[in-house]
């Protein structure tokens, strides 16, 4: 009889949480390595269009960014609702693009100066007039390699 009475009264053994820190650290390191700190905060709406025939933009150090879009709500009182250009941290006019590109190019190491790409991050509701003005400016400073940054997806979603 004593064989049965010795049995414990149904308590579940505690689950060991000793490996929890390891799991959390694993996740932590994953996010630490994939995180890219933003160098400038967006002041324009920036919903990029979709495209399916995209190429990856490798090597971040050879890319200059130009943002275009309608100012976000905080800035609409001052800057209106027409699409604007954002260079680094401030709004700019079309004529500022040339000097901006030259300045950024001069900051880069010599061997990269000829292989720079200009990434145009343009809101899909912007008008082409502004984009063509930007392209004219880029041609003037001989920054001919451009990349229209897009989301990867079905291109026909843009026209809905």
């Amino acid at each position: 009889m004593s064989k049965f009475t010795k049995k414990k009264d149904g308590d579940l053994p505690a689950v060991s949480t000793a490996s929890l820190p390891d799991i959390v650290f694993m996740l932590l390191f994953f996010f630490m390595t994939v995180t890219v700190m933003k160098d400038s905060s967006l002041m324009v709406e920036n919903v990029l269009p979709n495209a399916s025939e995209v190429k990856k933009l490798e090597k971040k150090d050879r890319v200059l960014y130009i943002y275009v879009g309608r100012p976000t709500r905080d800035y609409q009182k001052v800057f209106g609702t027409e699409p604007k250009i954002q260079l680094n941290d401030k709004f700019a006019s079309v004529t500022d693009i040339g000097p901006f590109i030259l300045e950024e190019r001069a900051k880069k190491p010599q061997e990269l100066q000829n292989v720079l790409t200009t990434a145009l991050k343009v809101d899909k509701n912007a008008n082409m007039g502004l984009i063509s003005d930007i392209k004219q400016q880029l041609r003037k400073v001989n920054a001919l390699k451009v990349n229209y940054t897009t989301y990867e997806g079905d291109a026909f979603r843009n026209i809905e």
Partner: protein, 202 residues
């Protein structure tokens, strides 16, 4: 009595909490960057010294108006048909010098893929989204044709080969091997996409 067993163990129970705190911080600040897009070259500012005469039949004109309608070769075209039309134009091979073309060999369309030019013109009020869709379809037309030739010559897709070639993590031995292949396919269907200055609407 002397103490035994070395120093007392540090309680590591709160380690998980600290790690969670950090984890949540990085979770919140992470933005997965969108760094893909359509690569294009702008034309240089100086016009070429010699005036090149291009036959009208070697130019495929695409016009986008301000409400996003499309005029391809003077015909109102649906965006969904643009890729097919552009491919038919590029692949035409009208003068018979192109031995890999599978087009209709229509004498009134392009002579040879190496001579065929796509000219894109848009209005100042065209939406950027529409413009990207058109660009995407035109690049897609080139990619489809290049894929076809790459499949025939090397048994794999051109876009796949190019992506591997451009990837900096690919070992250089494979890159050196891919380079002539990529160039060969590119030369079969060179991307000649000209963009005229935008017109003002009237």
């Amino acid at each position: 009595m002397a103490r035994r067993g070395g120093p007392p163990e540090v309680n590591a129970g709160s380690m998980a909490d600290i790690a969670f705190l950090l984890l949540i911080f990085f979770l919140v600040t992470t933005t997965i960057e969108t760094d893909a897009g359509l690569d294009r070259m702008l034309p240089p500012m100086e016009p070429p010294d010699t005036d090149v005469v291009i036959k009208q039949k070697n130019i495929f004109t695409v016009n986008i108006n301000k409400s996003g309608q499309l005029l391809a070769e003077e015909e109102l075209t649906n965006l969904k048909d643009l890729r097919r039309k552009a491919m038919a134009f590029l692949d035409n091979g009208g003068d018979g010098t192109c031995n890999y073309c599978k087009g209709r060999k229509d004498a009134s369309s392009s002579d040879n893929p190496t001579k065929a030019i796509i000219s894109l013109k848009n209005d100042r009020e065209t939406k950027y989204g529409t413009y990207i869709t058109v660009q995407n379809e035109l690049v897609g037309a080139y990619n489809d044709l290049r894929n076809r030739e790459a499949q025939r010559l090397f048994g794999r897709d051109f876009t796949d080969m190019e992506a591997e070639f451009l990837n900096p993590e690919t070992p250089s031995s494979i890159r050196d091997d891919l380079k002539p292949k990529v160039q060969q396919v590119q030369e079969l269907f060179p991307q000649k996409l000209s963009e005229a200055e935008t017109s003002t609407s009237n």
